[in-house]
């Protein structure tokens, strides 16, 4: 190819390869990518040479080849933009067509600087002239539609007008739509002809195109109210049209407009139900279902009909598309229509087993939507078991859904936290589990929020920690981190401290990342502290008791009480006695295993290891530790000091932190928050300041000798906690497992058992036969207190309000102006646009903030356009007169009779306006939108 580019052979210059030749060459070389790349490079060289040729035919073929290569082999062809423009003026039809195709595939205002150069040629081609055949005008329009800049659209908007009434009307409408998008200023010129196309007398294809365009506009507009005045036209199409495409679009428009005007729903109810019943076209039926569910959900008969149709969809075994859409339609129903989902329960559950991932996904969403307090236990158990045997992707989808639904709004669905915590443990055991982060978050979060769940939490954590298998799973290390933290923080609920410490320090922990390992060691620190404090306290308690009893009971004894005799009286929840030997053994074990870690490379591990060793050192240092005579231990002042300090260090409970906590903090005086901190970056240099996760767990990590400075500021709802503590006592033992049948979940530690339970979806159906019916049975166990900090906690705020608040855009303003910018007197109620304009005038005057109030800039724009478009108004008016006589308006006329009283009222109000003293309260009493067709 180097040869061809440097010196083209005679053959190459004489005979040009056509696009067909190029494709054949590419196809023959498509076996290897190297060959193909070479063939493309050779072709490009050729094209670069040919495209500069003065001969237009050569140029056109070269451009055609380039277009093909650029489009299907993803090459940049912006360099050839000028050559495309060169071909536009050619009198031979194929040349401009080739050029337009190339341009419409590759031009864009953002990348083609030469676009303005096309303006003149486009205008020439769009002009009404016999030489401009549809074959030429259509591609010109297409370029304008796809690659138009704001300037181009503005310049050529008026040139579209003649085409908007010619045979190429549909294409012109589609082009006008795109012109609006880039240039709202074009709306005043182009909008009127677009509205005209909606009339029944228009060519059907033009009607279809116009309805599509309005559908596009209404759905894209943040506030579709400017399109409300067209509702009568759309209604007429809904009733009279037999074109499914038109009907679908009209339904979509009504679905968008109905929330704005409640009476629209009443009006479209009958025609929509009629279509729903009669139409053989599935697409139209589906659109009707969608419209009913979104806009007619208050009309029970319509919803009933729609649900029946959905069932038909769901029952179509041979067509996965209909089943998929049917499930989606069910999902649209929302919580108010759970009965509909309930009716199709079996299909939904069986769909979990479908080969189609789409269908499975929708079924899962539906099932999650059906969850309520009474069935969450059964359904989630089943789903988690089902996840055990499904493919990795779907298993994680299930886990995700369960975690999200159960965790929603601070676990509002969960009554039995013991169950949920063990379910979390079970999820972590799923072989495909990749949701470690969320499980970690929830484990810790439940620990912080739900005191009653802590014993079970510790149990679940223990099972996870003891098992060496998860240590090698990178997805689970976050879960293990949470488990370690939980067992350390709530160590008082632990049954066997030695076992726990052994699990935390088992050799395989070296597979964990250093951050997680640091959490492990910090947990060991807490366990050691706890066991020591408990031990000392136990002796102290014994001492107090025994000194009181001494004279009575133990008088005859030697007076040396050993620890073996010590019995816990009340302050420690462990039923077993803590013996001196066991504490000693624990300390020995920790010392030998943690010892090597004090030399660890990783500072996080090293620091925590040294903390632990330091603590053990201090304990051993006490004078009496090694003496069996425990009795004297308590008299060592240092011991009691240590105990006091350590207790203080860990006594304050960690609580959840409100998302708004920082906002509530008052800014200290003299602190300027907005001060530029850019010079900080200089000081910090390369230091990575991203917060690492270990901070969460090392909040209170201090060296034992500095325990006085402990207790990092933790925000907690102290009143709630205090109350709760009073009620349950500091060390609260869980009530024994209750006898509710819903509690017979398998333990988290035996996944095999769980798998064997479920064989196929039929079992699921059987098992859940009752579970979707919300049971009223009272739970035998009351829901434990779940700490919620404030309304902002965990509740996701919906963005809907923001969408509604959002101000209108330029285009809507412009369109509203076109539709409403008519000052003519309302001759009948049909002329609602003028009626609305007048009312808007009033509102502006009285500064009433109703539906039609607009942002200021938009008003300014309106004003400008009012002046610009005076001629248009007269035309608009004329059209209305003409329309009133046209057939198909009987419906509207009828309504106008019905509302004759109201229209007389309008006239009265107009007089008010003319006098300019309309009392604002009269306006506000009126319904915001007057009768359009209703």
């Amino acid at each position: 190819m180097a040869a061809t580019s440097s010196s083209p052979s005679l053959v190459d210059t004489l005979f040009q390869r056509s696009l067909d030749d190029l494709i054949r060459a590419l196809r023959s070389s498509s076996s290897s990518s190297v060959l193909e790349a070479a063939a493309i490079a050779r072709a490009l060289d050729e094209i670069r040479r040919e495209i500069r040729s003065p001969d237009l035919d050569t140029k056109a073929v070269a451009l055609q080849k380039l277009t093909y290569l650029a489009s299907l082999h993803h090459l940049d062809m912006s360099w050839a933009a000028f050559h495309a423009l060169e071909l536009l003026p050619s009198p031979s039809l194929p040349h401009p067509r080739v050029a337009y195709l190339a341009a419409s595939l590759s031009f864009h205002p953002s990348s083609t600087d030469l676009l303005p150069l096309a303006t003149h040629q486009l205008r020439k081609h769009l002009a009404p002239s016999p030489s401009n055949t549809p074959a030429l005008v259509a591609p010109a329009l297409h370029l304008l539609a796809l690659a138009s800049s704001a300037d181009l659209a503005c310049h050529l908007a008026s040139d579209l007008l003649p085409i908007l009434s010619g045979p190429l009307r549909p294409k012109a409408i589609a082009t006008a739509l795109r012109a609006f998008a880039v240039c709202p200023d074009a709306a005043p010129v182009l909008f009127k002809p677009l509205v005209d196309c909606l009339s029944l007398s228009s060519e059907p294809r033009a009607v279809s195109a116009a309805v599509s365009a309005f559908c596009e506009l209404a759905l894209a507009a943040p506030d579709p109210s400017p399109y409300l005045p067209l509702a009568p036209e759309f209604y007429r199409l809904l009733v009279d049209s037999h074109n499914n495409w038109v009907l679908i679009k009209v339904l979509k428009i009504f679905a968008r407009l109905a929330p704005l005007e409640p009476r629209l729903a009443v009006r479209i109810h009958d025609p929509v139900c009629h279509l729903l019943r009669r139409s053989p076209a599935k697409s139209l039926v589906f659109e009707c279902i969608r419209t009913v569910l979104s806009s007619l959900s208050d009309h029970d008969a319509a919803v009933r009909l729609a649900v029946d149709k959905i069932k038909e969809f769901l029952a179509s075994d041979d067509d996965p598309n209909l089943r998929y859409l049917g499930l989606q339609a069910l999902a649209m129903l929302g919580p108010a229509y759970l009965w509909a989902v309930e009716e199709s329960r079996e299909v939904v559950i069986q769909s979990l087993n479908d080969t189609d991932t789409n269908i499975r996904h929708e079924a899962l969403c539906l099932i999650m939507g059906m969850l309520c307090e009474s069935n969450v236990v059964e359904i989630c158990n089943l789903l988690i078991k089902y996840a055990m045997k499904s493919d990795p992707d779907f298993a994680n989808e299930i886990l995700d859904a369960v975690l999200a639904t159960c965790g929603r709004n601070v676990y509002e669905l969960i009554v039995d936290f013991d169950w949920y915590v063990s379910l979390l443990g079970e999820m972590a055991r799923n072989p495909h589990c990749a949701k470690g982060d969320e499980i970690e978050r929830q484990l810790v979060d439940i620990g912080l929020r739900v005191r009653d769940a802590r014993p079970e939490l510790v149990l679940v954590a223990r099972d996870l920690l003891i098992d060496p298998a998860p240590l090698g799973n990178p997805f689970l290390c976050r879960v293990l981190s949470a488990a370690a933290w939980v067992s350390g923080e709530y160590v008082e609920s632990s049954r066997n401290l030695l076992e726990l410490v052994e699990a935390l320090l088992q050799p395989r922990t070296n597979r964990l990342s250093s951050l997680v390992r640091a959490v492990y060691i910090q947990a060991v620190f807490k366990v050691v502290t706890f066991s020591f404090i408990s031990f000392i306290k136990q002796i102290q308690a014994f001492d107090t008791k025994s000194s009181a009893d001494r004279n009575a009971a133990f008088e005859s004894e030697n007076g040396v009480a050993t620890a073996d005799k010590a019995v816990i009286f009340d302050s420690i929840d462990n039923n077993e006695t803590i013996k001196h030997e066991s504490v000693s053994h624990l300390l020995d074990f920790v010392e030998t295993t943690v010892g090597p870690l004090s030399e660890c490379d990783d500072v996080e591990i090293q620091e925590r290891a040294r903390n632990v060793l330091g603590l053990i050192h201090i304990i051993r240092e006490t004078r009496y530790w090694d003496i069996v005579a425990e009795h004297g231990l308590t008299r060592d002042k240092k011991i009691s000091e240590i105990v006091e300090l350590m207790e203080a260090a860990f006594s304050e409970e960690l609580g959840p932190v409100s998302t708004n906590a920082q906002k509530r903090d008052t800014v200290p005086e003299g602190l300027i928050l907005n001060e530029n901190l850019s010079d900080l970056a200089e000081i910090l240099g390369d230091i990575d300041v991203t917060p690492c996760t270990s901070i969460l767990f090392s909040l209170r990590c201090h060296h034992p000798t500095e325990t006085k400075e402990d207790s990092a500021p933790v925000i907690e709802p102290s009143s709630l906690l205090a109350e709760h503590r009073k009620r349950h006592g500091l060390y609260y033992l869980p009530t024994e497992k209750d006898e509710v049948e819903s509690n017979d979940y398998p333990l988290a530690s035996d996944p095999l058992l769980a798998v064997s339970h479920v064989d196929d979806a039929k079992d699921i159906v059987k098992l859940t036969a009752q579970s979707f019916i919300p049971r009223k049975a009272k739970p035998t166990k009351p829901r434990p207190v779940v700490i919620r900090l404030d309304e902002g906690d965990g509740v996701s705020r919906s963005g809907l309000t923001m969408v509604k608040e959002f101000k209108d855009d330029l285009l809507s303003g412009a369109i509203r102006n076109v539709l409403l910018g008519n000052e003519s007197k309302p001759s009948s109620s049909r002329d609602m646009s003028s009626d609305r304009t007048s009312r808007r005038g009033e509102n502006d005057a009285s500064n009433n903030n109703d539906l039609f109030s607009q942002p200021k800039e938009s008003n300014a724009l309106d004003g400008r356009k009012h002046r610009k478009s005076s001629s248009r108004k007269s035309r608009h008016h004329a059209r209305h007169k003409e329309k009133n006589g046209s057939p198909g308006n009987e419906d509207i006329e009828e309504t106008s009779h019905r509302h004759s009283t109201r229209s007389s009222r309008h006239q009265g109000r107009h007089k008010h306006r003319q006098r300019g003293d309309a009392p604002p309260d009269v306006v506000s009493q009126e319904p915001v939108i007057q009768d359009f067709l209703l």
Binding site: L101, K282, G799
Partner: protein, 214 residues
């Protein structure tokens, strides 16, 4: 609106690409690849729809309508609420995938029907044009309404350009304008008639172009 039409073979090589919102070439390649990755992972006899928000992102057309709105949204990271509902519907016929990408303004099943219109039109159009390159294949079509011949491999230049012409008659600037393959064919025939009469000079003599056939 329809955001894109993609025809590609089962190896992922595009045969026709039409994006109704401008996409630079690299982006086109990326999109085509992601679509192929999704489609090739789907077995036969499953539903023909795929949620494509993740692939195609928010509609550029709409964002043009209210640029500031979108800016506001992205600032607040509220894209969740602003999902466009972009989907794609595809049909796997012989060795080709026909893919339409569309947003919430279109009806899913209607799009499926429209693919059928496109396929039928292409089929009828190319039957007589270049038989060598069309392999007829009987395929069961959606809803077993009809059996139709399906062309398999349209790649020659004349076909490529004609495919654009046909598609432009059906979908124009992202809007569906024509759903009858009869009328599409008529319009396409009219255009080729006009093209022929307008230029007496054919681009390159066939005999010469045949030289480079290999």
């Amino acid at each position: 609106m329809i955001r894109a039409v993609i025809v590609m073979n089962t190896q992922g090589k595009p045969r026709l690409l039409k994006f109704y919102e401008f996409q630079p070439p690299e982006k086109q390649q990326e999109l085509t690849r992601s679509v192929f990755a999704v489609l090739s992972g789907r077995p036969d006899n499953v539903s023909n729809f795929v949620e494509a928000d993740a692939i195609f992102g928010p509609v550029i057309f709409s964002s043009l309508l209210f640029v500031s709105f979108v800016a506001e949204i992205t600032k607040k990271k509220k894209q969740e609420e602003f999902k466009e509902g972009t989907r794609l519907v595809y049909k796997h016929l012989a060795t080709l995938y026909f893919v339409f990408v569309f947003d919430s303004c279109e009806n899913e099943l209607a799009m499926l029907d429209l693919i059928q219109v496109l396929v039928e039109t292409l089929d009828r159009c190319f039957k007589n044009v270049c038989e060598l390159d069309i392999v007829f294949n009987f395929n069961k079509i959606y809803n077993n309404q009809m059996k139709t011949t399906v062309f398999m491999y349209v790649e020659l230049g004349s076909s490529y350009v004609q495919m654009h012409t046909i598609l432009d008659e059906i979908i124009f600037g992202g809007q569906v304008l024509e759903t009858s393959s009869e009328r599409v064919l008529k319009a396409v025939e009219e255009i080729s008639r006009l093209e022929k009469s307008s230029s007496s000079v054919s681009f390159v003599p066939k005999s010469v172009s045949g030289r480079f056939g290999r």
